[in-house]
Amino acid sequence: MHELSLIESVVALVEDERRKQDFSRVRVIRLRLGALGHAEPEALRFCFDAVTSGTIADGARLEIEMVPGEGWCAGCRRTVPLDERFAACPICGNAGVRMTAGDELRVAEMEVE
């Protein structure tokens, strides 16, 4: 359940922003999450309210944008979709596709007031 500490890290990033910019409430936090990444969106949602309670992000809504997995296939010389980490190329069947997207774990933006 490392999603708990990931949300704690999100709150820390919001706090960082709070020191740079003036706002009193966070309405929405938008995360960008790779489909092949380390975190499970449902687990993030599950612990979000509990972790943010009593912090600057208390009451905020969590929105998660999923980024599909993609990789570069040296055989096809093109970017191909990946539905699991280190899967073979879905077009030519070659192994060794280098993952280029789908590992994201980012705070994209937030709405504040």
Binding site: M1, H2, L4, S5, L6, E8, S9, V10, V11, A12, L13, E15, E17, R18, Q21, D22, F23, S24, R25, R27, L31, H38, A39, G54, T55, I56, E84, R85, F86, A95, G96, L105, R106, V107, A108, E109, M110, E111, V112, E113
Partner: protein
Amino acid sequence: MCAICGCGTASRASEPGSAQPTGHDPHHAHLHDHHPHEHAGQTINFGEGRAGLHIGGMSQERVISIERDILAKNDAFAEVNRTRLRKAGVFALNLVSSPGSGKTALLVRTIDDLKDQYPIAVIEGDQQTSRDADRIRATGAQAVQVNTGKGCHLDAHMVGHALDHLSLGPGGLLFIENVGNLVCPAAFDLGEAHKVVVLSVTEGEDKPLKYPDMFAAADLMLLNKSDLLPHLEFDVGACLAAARQVNPLIQILTLSARTGEGLGSFYGWIEARAAAQMGTV
């Protein structure tokens, strides 16, 4: 965890009033004195409490673009640890596995075999108890137990605190035994030179496919408990193929911490990698 610096409100129970931790990002350091670091034995607790925060200011509704990695704080602490270890001439390995793969037994055996060759210290991560650190200390090596409480992994900030309680000089080896968990520790860089994943032959040979993140993050896989192979239907070839499928560059050694089979190769790997790190400082 403290939401300001990511500090887990650690408590460590003996040595009250000891010096503030060092090795943190300088702009964090002043924030640490609000943490009630209690000190007891060689166990640091990160499973308790959280810092309060205050909300101030007023403004109108707007969108702020952030675009920062969620693990940025951990990664910053990890870089501080890495720099600190390299400057001290210490070679650090982060050992990860499921519970019961034999990490602690492997460490005990490794320390016994290498302690005349290197100064060795161990950071032990577990949710509770200091049983593993006690086993390590019985070998004569330094050990700090980090209890993560509800946490399922060590993070770089915890390791930074633990480093404050260890003294290792040039040529030293540091083993970080992560919490037994094949999922969560994959995402957290601790500042180690290499992640080493331990898999035992009593587990399924398809584990690298079922838990690919960890095998993808590791540079070395140790297939432990090889002495049990005659009693099991474990397909070593299939297991190695599974590991290489998720990580074509992973190095793999088969060994038994109990009989000592294959340990020489592991020690050779340590010696070569440690020398390579020293050569690049």
